[in-house]
């Protein structure tokens, strides 16, 4: 088990390196640092001095891959690639283009993100699974047909409308909670309720329909027939057998997103003014802060890969037939 995990982590290194090469190509080869400087400083009336100053402040004035001006190992390390890419592996995110410490920002801003995504994830999962089980219980009846129709209709509504509708109805008409904003500490709850509600409702259609398919696939299996043959009631079959076995396919989709919960949701956070990592990314995009976007891309990939490893491990825990090798 431990050997397997270590090997998986070792596999992750080339993938992360690849991610870094992609972002490096995107940010420094497709467009030179000069172009970035010009975009930041304005394209007209910009002197070469100003560009050089902008570049040297951010360390973008170094050679891309190989520094011929230096001696020894500095030849490889005193370059943009090393400074901006290899250091990410040590989770040293460096400074943003506007001079802030990215690592500190991330450590501060991931908690508000988590305050939204974690409840959305947990409540949403419980609700969709129980709804899907109920629908599976009524399979083949009018309830089933209409439930699927409602699910498809809900899936077809853009997430933006759930947010706008939620803000309008709950925040403006009923005045139950503030429309947007955030505070730290327990006061945060009143700011968190609405985004969580919207997030859960928005994911309901897709989730319920997806889990319903999984349950129906399980229901057609032989062991379910056996359970019925030995005289178990429908409830015992559904909760005792189908649910437990359906957990395995459900796990694939669920565990992999767990670490990514830290990243928050870009859209939700922008709408509700939550100072999490999602709005951090949006602010970076809008102020064209390349260092932050690069760091977030790396962080996102790391979390996704952790999710993949966790998925594999969780398989062995729920399904004794799966052996890691």
């Amino acid at each position: 088990m431990i050997a397997y995990v270590i090997r998986r982590i070792a596999y992750a290194v080339p993938i992360l390196l690849g991610v870094n090469v992609i972002t490096f190509v995107l940010f420094f080869v497709v467009n030179s640092p000069d172009d970035m400087a010009r975009l930041h400083l304005g394209s007209k009336h910009v002197t070469a001095d100003a560009i050089n100053k902008w570049k040297s402040e951010r360390g973008y004035d170094k050679p891309l891959l190989w520094n011929t001006m230096r001696e020894g190992s500095d030849r490889a390390t005193d370059t943009i690639f090393y400074r901006n890419t290899v250091r990410l592996f040590l989770f040293d995110f460096g400074q943003s283009d506007s001079g802030r410490d990215i690592g500190y920002d991330i450590s501060q801003r991931m908690w508000p993100s988590l305050a939204i995504t974690l409840p959305v994830f947990l409540i949403g999962l419980l609700l969709t699974i129980s709804l899907a089980l109920t629908i599976a219980f009524f399979r083949g009846t009018y309830i089933d047909t209409w439930a699927v129709i409602v699910c498809v209709a809900m899936m077809s509504i853009s997430g933006l409308f759930y947010i706008i509708g939620g803000q309008y109805v709950v925040g403006k008409l009923l005045r139950l909670v503030p429309i947007s904003g955030f505070e730290s500490g327990w006061v945060a709850i009143k700011f968190v309720i609405l985004p969580v509600l919207v997030g859960v409702v928005g994911g309901l259609g897709h989730g319920t329909r997806w889990y319903r398919t999984i349950f129906l696939e399980e229901i057609n299996r032989d062991y379910v027939r056996t359970a019925r043959a030995k005289g178990l009631g429908e409830k015992a079959v559904l909760y005792g057998h189908v649910l437990r076995n359906a957990l395995i396919p459900i796990l694939t989709g669920v565990v992999v997103v767990l670490p990514s919960l830290f990243l928050g949701s870009l859209i939700t956070e922008a709408f509700f003014g939550i100072p999490g990592l999602g709005s951090y990314t949006i602010e970076a995009i809008q102020s064209q802060d390349f260092a932050i976007v690069r760091a977030m891309v790396f962080l996102g990939s790391v979390l996704y890969i952790i999710g993949l490893i966790l998925t594999d491990i969780s398989y062995t825990l729920v399904d004794p037939r799966v052996r890691l090798s």
Partner: protein
Amino acid sequence: MQIVLLKTDVLFFVLLALAGTYVLYARRHEHLVAPWRQVAERPLGMAAAVVLTTYLVIAVLDSCHFHPRLERMQEDAETSYAGEIRSLLDVALTPLRERVEKTYSAPFAVRAYAKEMIEQADGSTRRGYPRLEYAGAHLADADAERGADILRRALAGLAGGAAVWLGAAALAGLLVARRRRQGFAGVVAGMVRGTLGTPWRSILLTLGAILLAGGFCVALAPYYHVLGTDQTGNDVLFQALKSIRTGLLIGTLTTLVMLPFAIVLGIAAGYFRGWVDDVIQYLYTTLSSIPGVLLIAAAALMLEVYMARNAAAYTSLAARADLRLLALCMILGVTTWTGLCRYLRGEALKLREVDFIAAARAFGVPHRVVLLRHIVPNIMHIVMISIVLDFSGLVLAEAALTYIDIGVDPSMESWGNMINSARLELAREPVVWWSLLAAFVFMFTLVLAANVFADAVRDAFDPRLREAR
């Protein structure tokens, strides 16, 4: 007029040509027609198809661009063309396009949304809701006559729509009757009862709903703003109709861009195994491990830098917006091809062990031929399913991405831009709701139709799933 082909237009027409070729090819092959025939027997699926076709027609009209000819100043002057680009849809909607009010106005309103100082006939001023310049301009006393006029025109429009619908239904009945060599009355009875195989009833009902809505708009839109006007006074109905092209292009071009990569790499990985497989697997694992939004954000940022550097090449607003749309399609394609690629690899892995392929190899058929003749036809159903399944998600993604500034160009009509500019107005009193409603209705209809159609296609092409329903 001088025809203009934007980059996205070219790709869109290439896509339509490909689809046309596929239809012509499939018609001659029974095994390719069979699943489509199944789709054609599903009432909901066909209703969705009618809606999708309507959207497609509008998008095609909106993709035929040209520079309109300017009126000659003198008799012998050379013909000159305007700098701006129009589409056939623009021309068809000229009354909607040109009647620009000052600012917001509610649907069917004849007075503006906000109070202003109005100059009276006697020279004094008072605060009040000024009359709109265009809406209800044909009425002498707009406030009093508005209700009756709207009702009259609406009824006339609905009647016109119903007449067109009756004509279309009769035509369909005649064609079916001729093809089946039956009496017209019998065919009509069969259509109503739904015994003809093809669900004519749901097709015609959907068509009827669309024609009634169309007739309503055609009768009223030249005289009123059916869906109100936005902040700069543009007609919201016009914007919503123009946005159809953007939505459809993103849903379809993205697929066109990513398909070659997904198919070639997926099959190569599964069929050749070995180091090819390792390299391709590494490639898609790497790409899929970057969260899609972040990759799109990074690429959008870089596009901005690129356009700032090559500002000279993209002088016109339309060309810039077009490039951004194309870039968005390509980036979305990069983030979505990995899923299909992984599927195809798995399928190719299974297929290469199947007996008929082993036999082909044993006979000495070269890899190239095995791939083209045996593998590709046997994975096409997966490709087809993924095309239709991805479509609705891509349309929804456009709105979300545009909201966080990494979607289409702000100058381009799109549902995302409509939502984006309208959502802050919900805080006003009275609420400006019509832009949101318009974007919601148009988007919801398209995405719902796409989802329903995708389900029908998936059920028809993937027999394994049918039992699970």
